[in-house]
Symmetry: C2
Subunit: 510 residues, 2 copies
């Protein structure tokens, strides 16, 4: 293929991608509005609007012409970036384009429709089953979902494990065997750490359940997010039942939070978490603007950004050295008698619990390992759906030392499986591992990092993240980023060391 | 054509219409968001998203297949509702479908693109020209727009006057000659009425410029809109620079307003006005749901609803008999010393002024007649663009007795022409005329109308409007509605009589 036809082929794929991106962002606005603004009764028409847009996106994704152009450019599973002669950015574009095309075209229409219907129905069943603590009502639906997902996995294909194809949806290009490896390391060190903390004297965090008027929380949260570099001329903060970040355009990345008037943590740490996601999408290089490269490269890397800002920065002594005086000024009645160190320890209190979304930074990973083990076993057919509650209880006791008394607090607690999102959970824990591994390089590159944070200066950290992670968008995979930045593959060691140092200090354990 | 093929053809057109409606409502959400929520810097990507959606809507509107199906069904300019054998609702659907198809396909792509570019550019030029009071900067752009609109008019075709084709965009099926007739009647009676009021003792309305805290205005406005029957499970109220109503789905019709902390009228009367528009769209019969029939039938009829609620109901003694105690309770400092009658006279004060959007109910129509006369003259080429400022001043003196000292307060005051919206202005005044003519029938049908309003009961009026106007959507034209309801064509007499009675009482004039 000569240079001219190559350029024409790339241009055609880029034009097609541009339409997909514009339609996807339009659909994202419809979803954002549904969660934040939409009047209650508008749901039926909104579903029809979204489903039409999704159909238009799908048509454009799987168009036969795309496949022909990819072939002409020499793209294949073995050579996803096409001919060697292409410029680097084109090759990065083709790799992501080819991946999307391949995944979309390998699933027959029937299967996609069945899966959509099944997940829509299963979510309703799951909500009722959880409310009634009735796993048996949900089990047959989950069983059918697992079968459908196994068919998805077969159709898409996988290098080693059928779970690979499911994981790849959320953490592109990562293999199950790699997750296995890092989660084994993590488990080996976390279980004794959580046990040791459990034996140490209790850290009081009751003051976080005092009165925190919502308007004051919003004002403080807004001040924090702006200090971190999230600007309201390219984003906004709204309220929704479940916090999320959504990209509606290159200059429009919005976050949401929820306020609890009698619990400090949810809104402010939620905002910092979502700001971490938003800063990633807002700082992708201009040259990828409006294309499929202008997104976070994997959910794991995305989560590394939200968790670095939320936990490593937002729950550090240095961060609160700067912000705590501003916080007590807003909440003199609830925090006037609490000193910085007491507050710092409270927001980092560790208490193994049953519910993942309420878990602390230390035990969180064990909640994920529990789900990952069960998902893998389901997908390998080594356990049956009916056995899940029992296996859940046993594994929970093993990992966390606690055992749910009801399935509502156990195997039914998360919505993910009812949505067909098997393969999603690992990304939450991978985020923590990536963040800690990146942080070693950051601390080496920015010796004044923590004194900057102490001074309320977040520009140097954001600048580093922009240069090394954000700006690249999806041109680098998670593994490539990790190797480029840290010189090695992802491992659990830096995260474990981070936890041991931080919580060794707070709890006097090792 | 046999019944089966006829049903298939109608079904195909309805499916095509359904996609157009879903895409149009999605685009409307993008526009709503742009005016109410969107971060400032998101504008470029938002424009690209909207222009893609508009393109998809256009493709679906002008698809050749639609023309073939319309032909098969016997639709033509002479017979827009197709074969006599079709059910009434199908014939009503075809009339509107055929009108949309005809208007869209008669304009060549070139002309549409030129017009879009020209109006986008002209709006920016107009804004600067108005700020600088420099009509000459705007004139050449307006000149080119008029030429383009004349081409539009030629392409679309018109029965008598080239203005017919432009007017038809906003007031479908109405002819310029009819507007001429009713505006002449209106002018003949309004000019002396405005003069007589000008000679009568001044009505004090200075208390409306006291302090009205925005939060209290919002709470009061929300209570009023709910009392009128606008429910927040099918709508919402937001803030925007220019108030508007927008339909985002059968159960999602949103309004906006703007608050001025030192002027009572803008927010509350603005809300009542927009609620009038919203109630129209929310009360269309279920059977037209999600189709092109589920819209107001013309801007004039739409405006009849907003102005009936805002002026005839919302500025009546009876309305404030019910609401005034609630209002003074919210604003005791500003209205505690003002009695109901004084307030009623203040909100109905008449003062001929230069600016249309600030005009009272009596002189408003004269502002519209001024614009209509100038538009007609431009389109007939009987005046030149360069002469507009002088003609504006002369006509303003004639009609309103006042003359602008600057073009910013004169010919440059409205955005409409810069948007290419020639033919739009008449619908504002037609709304007042329709409202007054309908009100005669309503008062005959509902003898307790005004005592209901006095009691804060708006259900009977809304029920009447739903049954006689709203529910029909676009199955009846404005002229058909008017004849069905009042037994005659639109005339200015009922509106003039309404004004003479109301303002005769307030100002002691005849």
């Amino acid at each position: 293929m000569d240079t001219n036809s190559r350029s024409a082929a790339i241009a055609a794929l880029r034009a097609n991608d541009r339409e997909i991106v514009l339609l996807s962002h339009s659909a994202a606005l419809l979803s954002w509005d549904q969660e934040t603004c939409m009047p209650r009764k508008a749901i039926d028409e909104r579903s029809a609007q979204l489903s039409l847009l999704q159909g238009l996106i799908h048509e454009r994704t799987v168009a036969r012409r795309n496949g022909r152009l990819l072939e002409e450019l020499g793209c294949s599973d073995e050579n996803p970036r096409g001919d060697g002669g292409l410029p680097t950015d084109d090759r990065a574009f083709l790799r992501q384009y080819q991946r999307r095309y391949r995944r979309a075209t390998r699933l027959p229409r029937d299967l996609v429709v069945k899966l959509a219907e099944k997940t829509s129905r299963s979510q309703a069943v799951w909500a009722e089953a959880r409310a009634a603590d009735d796993f048996r009502a949900f089990a047959p639906h989950l069983g059918e979902l697992v079968e459908l997902l196994l068919e998805v996995s077969d159709r898409i294909g996988y290098p080693q494990h059928p779970y690979d194809a499911l994981l790849d949806e959320y953490e592109p290009f990562m293999l199950t065997s790699h997750v296995d490896r890092v989660f084994s390391e993590l488990r080996a060190d976390l279980v004794p750490l959580v046990e040791a903390i459990g034996r140490a004297p209790h850290v009081d965090n009751s003051m976080l359940r005092r009165e925190f008027p919502v308007q004051q929380q919003a004002a403080f949260g807004t001040a924090v997010m702006q200090a971190l570099g999230y600007e309201l001329d390219r984003g906004r903060l709204d309220v929704s039942a479940h916090p999320f970040t959504t990209t509606l355009g290159a200059d429009d990345v919005r976050i949401t939070t929820r306020y609890s008037p009698r619990f400090f943590n949810s809104a402010v740490f939620g905002i910092i978490h979502e700001v971490g996601h938003a800063l990633y999408e807002l700082n992708i290089a201009e040259k990828y603007r409006g294309s499929l490269l202008a997104e976070g490269t994997s959910l794991g890397i995305h989560e590394s950004q939200s968790r670095m800002w939320e936990n490593m920065v937002g729950r550090s002594r240095e961060f609160w050295h700067h912000f705590y005086p501003k916080l007590t000024a807003r909440f003199p009645d609830s925090l006037g008698d609490v000193d910085l160190e007491t507050f710092y320890r409270a927001i980092n209190a560790v208490r193994p619990s049953l519910i993942r979304v309420e878990a602390d930074e230390v035990s969180y990973g064990l909640h994920i390992i529990l789900r990952f083990e069960l998902e893998k076993a389901l997908v390998s057919r080594s356990i049956k759906v009916a056995d899940l509650p029992e296996v859940w209880r046993a594994t929970s006791r093993e990992l966390l030392g606690v055992e749910p008394q009801t399935d509502a607090e156990g195997v039914l607690q998360d919505i993910h499986w009812s949505m067909g999102a098997i393969g999603y959970f690992p990304t939450y824990a991978l985020g923590n591992l990536y963040a800690a591994q990146f942080m070693r390089t950051i601390e080496a590159d920015l010796p004044s990092l923590w004194s900057d944070v102490r001074d309320g200066e977040f520009g140097p950290l954001l600048g580093w993240l922009r240069g090394h992670i954000h700006s690249h968008g999806r041109t680098r995979t998670a593994a490539e980023l990790c190797n480029d930045i840290t010189g090695t593959d992802l491992s659990a060691a830096p995260f474990v060391a981070y936890l041991q140092t931080k919580y060794g200090d707070i709890y006097g354990v090792r």
